[in-house]
């Protein structure tokens, strides 16, 4: 029998345990597939750990080797940063332009939206195979089309100067997701804001700079961070399109770690490489976040500020 006193007690007890039952799958998964491996990887980075044979504790030697004795470490790091430096701004710009285009109130725009998004549902394998064939310097259709325009196409995948550009072009094919994120945000901007601006005499470019851009800065921040992380971890395309060549011109950091682990079987060294990448990503993300207070405007903050001003 429940008395009035113990009924609520039981109720709270249930509500204390039940939530943990719901989130239990994630807690188990987190320990087994994330935290455990994370800690283990940190330990491994302090060992000379071949795939077969004894692991030997060597302290920070892996990190020392990385910084002082392995030129491939610096080279691949520079290549990856170079790639990110071209890829991230270009991707953002293209995504933004496409998003603006598909918000235009004209006929058939949904078809274009579908076309632009379509490559994003296609895999890295398919992307690399299709673009690899188009970039083929002997039978590739791209250079043929360029020759029709009177341009002599480069040896895309064979010329070390062009290989990284080739990867940028192929990976920009998946810009659709970022475009959709921009698109939904731009669509959410109230129409009245533009109307008021145009009554005040602001042209489309002025409206874009003064209304669209400031409103979508949180989304820009989101896209910058996710694409920086994606660019630094790029691997599939490199693995399949160039294998790191020609002359190691596309030997990205992801490939460097992958090869150290699964080709050279130096698991400890590869773990040290991976942890360095983790730290770089953390630092970059923090840096972007820190800088964001200068250029990202949140609606809630703007409202608060307005309220504050009113009170004065």
């Amino acid at each position: 029998m429940f008395t009035k006193k113990n009924k609520p007690k039981k109720f709270t007890l249930v509500r204390k345990r039940v939530p943990f039952l719901f989130i239990l799958p994630w807690i188990i998964g987190f320990i087994v597939f994330t935290l455990g491996p994370l800690v283990f990887s940190l330990i491994m980075s302090l060992f000379d750990w071949p795939i077969a044979g004894e692991a030997k504790f060597i302290g920070f030697d892996n990190f020392k080797t990385m910084f002082t004795a392995d030129p491939q470490f610096y080279d691949s790091l520079v290549i990856t940063l170079k790639f990110a430096l071209i890829f991230v701004p270009l991707n953002l710009l293209v995504a933004l332009v496409l998003a603006l285009l598909i918000t235009q109130p004209i006929k058939g725009i949904k078809i274009f939206r579908t076309i632009f998004y379509l490559p994003a549902v296609v895999s890295g394998v398919a992307v690399s195979i299709i673009w690899g064939w188009m970039f083929n310097s002997e039978y590739g259709v791209l250079n043929y089309i360029l020759s029709l325009l009177g341009i002599e196409g480069p040896d895309w995948l064979i010329d070390p100067k062009w290989a990284i550009i080739t990867i940028v072009i192929a990976s920009a094919w998946g810009v659709g997701t970022m475009m959709l994120i921009f698109y939904t945000d731009i669509k959410g901007i109230p129409y009245e804001m533009y109307e008021a601006a145009s009554i005040d005499g602001a042209g489309p470019i002025r409206q874009f700079i003064s209304i669209t851009i400031p409103t979508i800065t949180p989304t820009i921040l989101f896209n910058v961070i996710t694409s920086v992380i994606a660019a630094l971890q790029q691997l599939t395309l490199v693995l399949l399109l160039t294998g790191g060549g020609p002359l190691k011109s596309t030997y990205f950091y992801g490939l460097f770690v992958y090869n150290n682990a699964f080709k050279h079987h130096e698991l400890g060294y590869a773990s040290a490489n991976a942890w360095f990448m983790f730290i770089i990503i953390l630092l970059l993300t923090m840096l972007i976040f820190k800088s964001s207070s200068a250029w990202v405007f949140y609606e809630a903050e703007v409202k608060k500020e307005r309220k504050g001003r009113k009170r004065k």
Binding site: W26, S41, S123
Partner: protein, 273 residues
Amino acid sequence: MKITRKHKIIVYSILVLFSLYFLFPFIWAFITAIKSEAEVFSFPPKFVPDVPLLSNFIDAWNSQPFGTYFKNSMIVTVLTTIGQLISCSLVAYGFARYDFKYKNILFMLLLSTMMIPWDVTMIPLYMEFNMFGWINTLKPLIVPAFFGSAYNIFLLRQFLMNIPKDLENAARIDGANEFQIFYKIFLPIMKAPLTLIAVLNIILVWNDYLGPLIYLNDQSKYTMALGLASFQGVHELQIIPIMAMTLVMIIPPVIVFAFAQKYIVEGISGSIK
């Protein structure tokens, strides 16, 4: 917004130009796939083959055990999707609808896992799965999905936060237990975001190359992505069957996308707010 004729012409020309970039590779892959061998390696390249050979697709399919690859991909995709739907809905519900001790710390932990590069956990995970005896089986690709993924949980939790608390309180008064509330009331409400999660998972898992590359080495276990990539490596000059199978591989995600376009567009807008 009023649009002038000139403005319209400019917009359409830019749209068409971009469409070429996004669409032409597919078209060119198809043109290549239905050519004869002589036409593929002729210069200048032909844009319309003399006789379109659709039989190339059948020959390509039979040139490798693509039936097995396709089946493996299907198994992995279907099972991971089921796993994600079950685990993510439970976990997101727990985080969104209850207050409990350490909730905020745990949720921050969940979000921070999204920032860990896969390189870091790749090697220990390989060793762990090796210890379980799972290498060269489909298990490493499937089992983790039953424990949720941070991105999906986050997305669902955002959705669930917007539903008024009265809903489950009313059900509690009516005598429903906590799991019944989840199952009978909330699960049906979550249909739209769950569809989005399913679609995103199907696209991601179907296309995954690195997972299968690391965990599978026996050809009979290969997925489509892995089979296709290795096929390309071995027969570099067989461009016709390679293009044909690439097109076959992209059919399932494109079909799923075609049916779920609405959910993707709406879901993405919901998840960033």
